[in-house]
Subunit: 308 residues, 2 copies
Amino acid sequence: MGLLVVGSVAYDAIETPFAKTEKALGGSAMFFSAAAGYFAPVHLVGVVGNDFDFDELAFLRKNNIDFEGLTIENGETFRWAGRYLNNMIDRETIYTHLGVFESFNPLLPEKYKENEFIFLANIHPSLQYSVLQQIHRPTFIAMDTMNFWITGALEDLKKTLQHVDALIINDSEVRLLSQEHNLFTGARKIQSMGPQVLIIKKGEHGAILIQGDSYFACPALPIENLFDPTGAGDTFAGGFMGYLAECGSVNETNLRRAVAMGAVMASFCVERFSAERLKNLTIEEIRQRAAQLLRMIQVEGDDHWLHL
Amino acid sequence: MGLLVVGSVAYDAIETPFAKTEKALGGSAMFFSAAAGYFAPVHLVGVVGNDFDFDELAFLRKNNIDFEGLTIENGETFRWAGRYLNNMIDRETIYTHLGVFESFNPLLPEKYKENEFIFLANIHPSLQYSVLQQIHRPTFIAMDTMNFWITGALEDLKKTLQHVDALIINDSEVRLLSQEHNLFTGARKIQSMGPQVLIIKKGEHGAILIQGDSYFACPALPIENLFDPTGAGDTFAGGFMGYLAECGSVNETNLRRAVAMGAVMASFCVERFSAERLKNLTIEEIRQRAAQLLRMIQVEGDDHWLHL
């Protein structure tokens, strides 16, 4: 089924202890689409400046992504520059130039309004809300957010949260939004704000899916050659939503499998700069890594394993 | 099959943001036994001072624990006092009085030498080695260690590591011992030092079992009422080794189930001070929590779940 993503398409400048790139394709909607396109047709809404080179998106067009909703405005494309510290997790922002993204006002092309799976990437919660007012009868809406909106636009965020099915955020954001140190207490508090499904990303420690009062702990794949973590979260969301859209329906089994697929796609993302590793994956590569992940949580636990 | 543990029996003074105890039964061998006793007969080797009240161990005697190997020396029992910070993970030591533990020299009663499952709790690696020289034909030897020995007795530690099957340590200790930031690279380096089985404890993020080149990611149970984390690691080791000793043989399935049982027993430990919560568990309580944990990692993943 159709999948809509609203978010950024950007240029990143990234420095890690091992490598450096001056201008790599980035942005939440780009990473999301690069992953989701393996599973379902994606409709992308975003904005770029007239400095943007559309040839760089050729791999997306090839891969099921419709970007009629990616508008071009006079001005510069969103640019972000960051530097990762030695642990490859903590990073410092060198600059953020919003460019045309500063006045981004997502307007959905008519045909986009029928999408049944919706992902609102990390943008101002009032813009996320404006998207919800444009879509018709969605099956499943998921959103991302960040500390900047939690502290700076909390009322708008709470309003948007009331209308979504799922929130995908990291553990520190759960604590900030819920004002609870305990992750599980915090999660229940956030569920009471609206989203019944919560996916808590914990980086190298994997992710936790909370649906109602059921928990699924999904590990991260073991990565020995972590190259650049940029975009891993949006790639995770792309694998997750893409898989769900392909299933066409949402139930506990599909949600768990979708989280696993998010982890699989994220594990590719971090092996190269930008979406390089996501450009030409084979079905067999995805399949192998999914099998590897399932093997990591497999316990042959029949009723008799506890021989007490 | 018989299970031997060599470690400490102590008195702890603990302060958390919520509660305080002046004198609670503690020590690695005590926590280990309290958990392992649910699964297999345990033989405990340790030392206490003549201030020690053996009545406090009545619950262990009732529960399969033989402590003929717990000797009494003139002097004071090992005492540790610590304070947990607000996150309930970081802690500061207020004092450590080794007492009679300072000159601990583990001597195994004759009948203990036939044990087939051996756990060397966190003591000086040369003492751990001396235990290995006394035992006859063990099936499976696991050990713990800590940063203090990694930095202060590295050569002794490396010598002991050559003779054990499994090392149970936390993630920061993996990094310190291997001098590798990447956990998985570090793990392989430690495997090359001897132990083919590595269990990396990550607190609230669960544990990773590495056996050869196979990984098992075991989550921690969701704990909303974390009361006192003291002893959780030794309790984990007790559940793990107890379960293996009950199985009587070591293979990948048993190892995975044993790690899950370690996580189950640790989840009880942290709900009260000392081993209070481990004293009177019912089989049904253990069974329920094991089922809950398995449910947390269950994906209905047949060959067709990846419909790509």
